[in-house]
């Protein structure tokens, strides 16, 4: 199965956009799961730190400079594809802090526990909601940070707040 058949990026695609172990060990950093050339570049305009390299053609795939990225998450709310996440593997011994975009109601409460879902929408583990804030773009999207088990940080990409 491939992304164009079922909507799920393949492990090979995900490996390409993963920052190096060294960079991940330094703290929060962006993950841009955008694998198709489409006419779109607001991620680039949103980042004021040079985390995204300039687009030569608006159809280019985003190219990153992970050393310039501090994981602030501003680009998350600017991406119409909701394809941008931030991961902080230094959050705690057992857990990584995963930040995702969220456009559903209810918006979970900080401190609550919700179901973590993988890229197919299957439940994989309960996760704790650490922080909830509106997108810097003020476009109604919410930006949610979750404490997730480290070994599931590559799998969890969504949540279910209630059944």
């Amino acid at each position: 199965m491939t992304l164009e058949k079922n909507g799920i990026p393949t492990p090979a695609q995900l490996a390409v956009i993963k920052p190096s172990k060294e960079r991940l060990a330094k703290g929060p950093v962006v993950l841009v799961e955008c694998f198709q050339k489409i006419p779109c570049d607001p991620c680039y305009s949103a980042c004021k730190r040079g985390g995204f390299l300039p687009f030569e053609d608006i159809n280019d795939l985003p190219q990153m400079d992970y050393d310039k990225c501090n994981g602030c998450g501003i680009c998350i709310g600017a991406c119409p594809g909701l394809a941008i996440f931030v991961i902080d593997e230094t959050y705690s011994e057992q857990e990584a802090l995963l930040t995702i975009p969220w456009e559903f109601l209810p918006v979970p409460d900080e401190g609550s526990t919700v179901q973590g879902l993988n890229r197919s929408g299957e439940p994989v583990a309960p996760v704790k909601v650490v922080k909830v804030r509106p997108s810097a773009k003020k476009n109604g999207a919410m930006i949610i940070s979750l404490a997730v088990p480290k070994e599931l940080a590559d799998d969890i990409r969504s949540i279910r707040v209630k059944d």
Binding site: G7, P39, A46, N59, A78
Partner: protein, 367 residues
């Protein structure tokens, strides 16, 4: 029948292309009249709750209905633009007269230039019981939900994994409705893959190479049967599946709305990539008839971002043809054309590029 004649340019359709056409023509100093069938300006934009793609120039990261608000406000406040909403363009008559109807009253306009930006209509799909209540076009579902605030049902199967099918599925999920399947006859997802991933991770399965075989139900839709198809579009035996749903939403493409251009006598040609018959036109979107322009989906199905840029090109040129804004015309036109070429340059612009190529070949034969 009365007539309205104090207009230079008549624009039919108040969607993204028509709004931009009116603004760019009026900014150049032309007087424009914008005709819209609905009570509100904005066309399909008012139903779009998702963030837009494109670049800053096409309002990327803003939601469609917000873009509609911004553009409608600018149009309504523009001293050179008159808006006629709830008004239908009925036909194009001799002497370049266009008949308009509002509240059963009829008017005739004789503009110096016409820009048709009427958009498109949805395609339907034939299968047994396809007329059961509960089977809707995607546009109708969006109107119910996002204009009137009414949910169409509880469990919705979507047919079509193009951008419209996938975006409407996402909007249904946001409204708290279950979407147990997106069914797509092509072997691949037509929507931007990032859109597909966002519905997939909310648990919606996407069945590519599948089609709806039949709908079932006594008085309204209760169930559908769907199955896998091979590359000859034959059902793969044993792959039939049943799904209980109370709504089936059809998003299988659009056809340009071109009646007025046919009536005007524009040279028309069938272009598969554009979804049907479209008018031959040059690079400024002027058709085979002088001062008759086409912009947006009416000239070939594409994205709202390119419809807006096309609207600007047609508006600028119509104004220039009538002697308005000649100083800035060349610069503004080349900026807009560059923007449009950029939007169409990548792999997702392939279909449009090939349609344009066929259009220009057809144009050479015709001339």
């Amino acid at each position: 029948m009365s007539s309205i004649d104090n207009t230079d340019i008549l624009i039919i359709g108040g969607g993204p292309a028509g709004l931009k056409a009116a603004l760019s023509a009026a900014d150049q100093g032309a007087r424009a009249t914008l005709v819209e069938r609905d009570p509100h300006l904005g066309g399909q934009l008012i139903k779009q709750t998702h963030m837009f793609f494109g670049s800053k120039e096409q309002y990327a990261s803003e939601r469609g209905f917000k873009i509609a608000e911004t553009l409608s406000l600018a149009v309504t406040n523009h001293p050179n633009i008159r808006v006629l909403s709830n008004t239908t363009a009925l036909g194009y008559y001799e002497d370049k007269a266009i008949a308009l109807e509002v509240d059963k009253r009829f008017f005739v306009v004789k503009p110096e230039a016409l820009i048709l930006a009427a958009g498109a209509q949805e395609n339907t799909l034939m299968f047994p019981n396809c007329d059961l209540p509960g089977i809707y076009g995607a546009g109708a579902v969006q109107t119910l939900m996002n204009v009137h605030g009414v949910v169409p049902g509880e469990r919705v199967a979507m047919v079509g994994a193009g951008n419209i099918g996938v975006i409407v599925s996402y909007q249904l999920l946001q409204a708290g409705i279950k979407v147990p399947a997106i069914i797509e006859a092509m072997p691949h997802i037509g929507a931007y893959h990032v859109h597909a991933s966002k519905v997939r991770r909310m648990g919606v399965p996407i069945y590519t190479s599948h089609t709806v075989l039949a709908a079932h139900g006594r008085d309204c839709l209760e169930k559908i049967t769907f199955a896998e198809i091979d590359h000859n579009r034959q059902t793969v035996s044993g792959s039939e599946k049943e799904l209980e749903v109370d709504v089936l939403c059809i998003a299988v493409g659009l056809t340009p709305l071109t009646e007025i251009l046919f009536q005007a006598g524009c040279k028309m040609v069938y272009i598969t990539e554009f979804g049907g018959h479209v008018a031959l036109r040059n690079e400024t979107l002027e058709t085979s008839i002088k001062n008759v322009f086409v912009a947006g989906d009416a000239g070939g199905i594409e994205e709202a971002s390119s419809a807006m840029v096309e609207g600007s090109i047609a508006g600028l040129t119509a104004a220039a043809n009538l002697g308005h804004g000649l100083d800035s015309y060349a610069v503004k036109l080349s900026e807009a054309q560059k923007e449009l070429a950029n939007l169409r340059r990548g792999p997702t612009g392939e279909k449009t590029r090939s349609g344009l190529q066929r259009l220009s070949l057809a144009g050479e034969v015709a001339s």
